[in-house]
């Protein structure tokens, strides 16, 4: 289960080493993404695709907007 977070809180936690995952299609990631984010498109989100994430650090996922 994920917890909603604001922009300000995200910026604060990124400064402390949090990880960012964009779940949009890969071409949209190539077009633009948040600094330091990695791409794991939603359709590919499974145990294998997230294995590269550090389980000891917070993980933030995002897409384009609230839609």
């Amino acid at each position: 289960m994920s917890v909603p977070i604001t922009r300000d809180r995200l910026q604060e936690l990124l400064r402390h080493g949090a990880q960012l995952v964009e779940v949009l299609p890969e071409d949209e990631y190539d077009y633009e993404h948040l600094p330091g984010a990695i791409t794991i498109p939603l359709k590919m989100l499974d145990a294998a695709s997230v294995s590269s994430l550090n389980r000891d650090r917070a993980v933030f996922v995002y897409c384009y907007d609230t839609q």
């Binding site: 977070i5 936690l13 990631y29 077009y31 993404h33 600094p35 984010a37 933030f60 996922v61 995002y62």
Partner: protein
């Protein structure tokens, strides 16, 4: 796991950095002039004209105490000699763009609407700066290299 629900649209419209093929350098936010005059609605036009002429960014924007753009002066009011308050002379709800707008799209809009400047505001309405059309047109021209 945390969900940044507002997403990249919120991040970019706040003028925060982007990476990728269309990174921050291709956006309006990287080309705004911040040496602009800001005035409060209760200021007198005489004072506003003095401030505006001292700065290269052109027409001043009018902000409230939180830095939110509330109005703009037209060329006639700014160039005239009346000394009324800004509030009486300004037009409300000026058209603004976000720092995340791609620069070529901003130029297209300015050409279509015959605008020489565009106020740039964050998603909360706070003024970032002003985009000048001549600056933007220069920036999108292909280099000679």
């Amino acid at each position: 796991m945390y969900d940044y629900v507002a997403g990249i649209a919120d991040w970019a419209s706040f003028g925060l950095p982007l990476e990728g093929e269309h990174d921050s350098g291709t956006r309006v936010g990287a080309h705004v002039r911040t040496d602009l005059a800001t005035c409060r609605p209760n200021h007198r036009l005489t004072e506003v004209r003095e401030r505006a002429s001292a700065l290269r960014a052109g027409k001043p924007a009018f902000t409230n105490e939180r830095g939110v753009v509330v109005g703009r002066l037209g060329r006639v009011s700014l160039g005239g000699s009346d000394d009324v308050s800004v509030e009486e002379a300004m037009s409300l709800g000026p058209r603004t763009v976000r720092p995340s707008l791609e620069l070529d799209k901003a130029v297209e809009r300015m050409r279509t609407q015959s605008l020489t400047t565009l106020p740039v505001t964050r998603s909360d309405g706070v003024l970032v700066g002003v985009l000048r059309r001549d600056d933007a047109e220069r920036a999108i021209q292909p280099s000679d290299d």
